[in-house]
């Protein structure tokens, strides 16, 4: 088996998920200058909703494809409502407060959502009932399965769609205008609050899709799954340059690759002293290194302007 190729494939799959979640962080940051630490929990809620709906639909003997599709749509709808509500209830009243206040609130929202999920779905690990077998394929000495191929393709399509939306549509122009200069956009007749709500809903829809992807890939859903995933995606957003859409995509994929390759080779590099369970360490090494050497990220330049 070709370990290098295998780790690259795993990295791309994981990186695609990071990228989708990182886009949620970066869009909100771009438009409000706020780090929405509750975003990881939105991913988790998306996974939970998808799990619940999928189980119910399969129990009601829905066709597998239909059940998957409907559960994904349900997760997106619930997450969009959740994202909207979070902004409305937790962040909007603090729009003009010192920056620390919404940051602390974001952490609070994150804790509330985690505990809420624990109360509803319990502490146990749920297995995600994928209604079809994900066939594995040999690919140049490595193995890749249907779900993984699906993740990368869907993520790619979504990212292209998002770029089109942001750069080529009226709503996207309004989003960029609010991010650039909210005082001017409002005088152009843009309803800033509406654009901000839309941004939260868009990010949350992506989070729901990411939640579905992770669940389908690992086959496990847990109320705590959003925490680490959220931190990683945040790292990816910072790596790419927070506030920058292309940066979030690049950062997500890069972080996935770094983690995967790191985990694959750390055993060899340390003579077996450290194992692949140190995988998470890489992400945070990256975060620290970026913050020290290039705080504006790979593609970022806005940070200095904002500070």
């Amino acid at each position: 088996m070709d370990i290098l190729l295998q780790q690259i494939i795993n990295g791309l799959v994981q990186g695609s998920v990071y990228a989708l979640v990182a886009l949620g962080y970066t869009m909100v940051y771009g438009i409000l200058g706020l780090i929405n630490f509750a975003h990881g929990e939105v991913v988790m809620i998306g996974a939970m909703i998808a799990l619940t709906v999928l189980k119910a639909l399969l129990a009601a003997a829905f066709a597998p494809v239909l059940a998957v599709l409907l559960s994904l749509l349900a997760a997106m709808a619930v997450c969009m409502a959740l994202g909207y509500s979070i902004e409305r209830i937790a962040y909007r009243p603090l729009r003009n407060a010192p920056r620390l206040a919404p940051l602390i609130t974001a952490i609070g929202v994150s804790i509330v959502l985690q505990n809420l999920a624990m109360m509803i779905w319990g502490r146990e690990y749920h297995s995600f009932p994928l209604p079809f077998t994900s066939v594995s394929h040999q690919f140049g000495g490595a193995i890749v399965n249907d779900v993984q191929i699906g993740i990368v393709i869907v993520a790619l399509v979504i990212m292209l769609g998002l770029m089109w939306l942001v750069h080529r549509t009226r709503m996207g122009r309004a989003m960029r205008a609010v991010a650039e200069n909210p005082a001017a956009s409002v005088l152009m007749g843009v309803d800033n609050n509406r654009v901000i709500s839309f941004t939260f809903m868009l990010g949350s829809a992506l989070a729901a899709i990411a939640g579905f992807m992770v669940s389908a890939n690992y086959g496990i859903v847990h109320y705590y799954m959003g925490f680490m995933l959220g931190l990683k995606a945040f790292t990816a957003a910072v790596l790419g340059g927070i506030g920058n859409l292309r940066g979030a995509m690049l950062g997500g994929v890069l972080l996935g690759l770094i983690e995967s390759l790191g985990a694959g080779y750390i055993g060899d590099l340390t003579g077996g002293f450290l194992g692949s369970n140190y995988q998470d360490v890489f992400a945070f090494f990256v975060l620290i290194a970026v913050l020290i050497f290039r705080p504006s990220g790979l593609l970022g330049e806005k940070l200095a302007e904002r500070a």
Partner: protein, 259 residues
Amino acid sequence: MTPPSEYLIELRNVGKHFGGVVALADVSLHIKQGEIYGLIGPNGAGKTTLFNVVTGLYQLDSGAFDFAGKRYTHCKPHLLAQAGIARTFQNIRLFANMSALENIMVGRHLRTHTGIWGALTRHAAARAEERATVQRARELLDYVGIDRAHQTLAKHLSYGEQRRLEIARALATEPKLLALDEPAAGMNATETVALKALLQKIRASGITVLLIEHDVKLIMGLCDRVAVLDYGKKIAEGVPEEVRRDKAVIAAYLGGEVA
């Protein structure tokens, strides 16, 4: 209902303070449909505060504000834009990392309607609207005399071009009133002459212009009427010739009785 007033904009006894600082005290202004109305006064006289009140960025503390016969005393800025008030800023506030064309297209936001579903489904009406938006934005670039590549980022335009782009963006909202905060600031003589011609062209198209300016020559040569603010109070109003000879105005500007 009162009959439609001859005034496009009416401020009655408007007051605005920030803590203990009185920025506007009992200011009344009446601006007629189709005139170019100048607002002058020393630094800190409250000119920009008045602009912010008129465009909804500040809520006034007392008095009333009518526009086109309707009361807008407490109104959100994007709704005032909808009602037909557009402005530019003293310190240019373009969308710096968007192209010249896109800046104007944002100005079209409130006169266009394609929602997210329209954009995603790309039905004929949505595509037609997008084409019309681009078309109108191009026309406006020509109208204000920016002959650069339309994809040039706003931040890469020259200073005078940025000022004109701001005007074009404001015009894109199809305003009844165009409020310009020191449009000639930092412009050289040639640019100022071009600006004057542009403002006359805009007025000729039926748009009322409210102008804050320090360039007295420009104000005197352009405005139908002028009001002078000093320490938040209106100390004079009238045709430029009258105002120029007004003793209170001379005192406010020159701080004494120098004639």
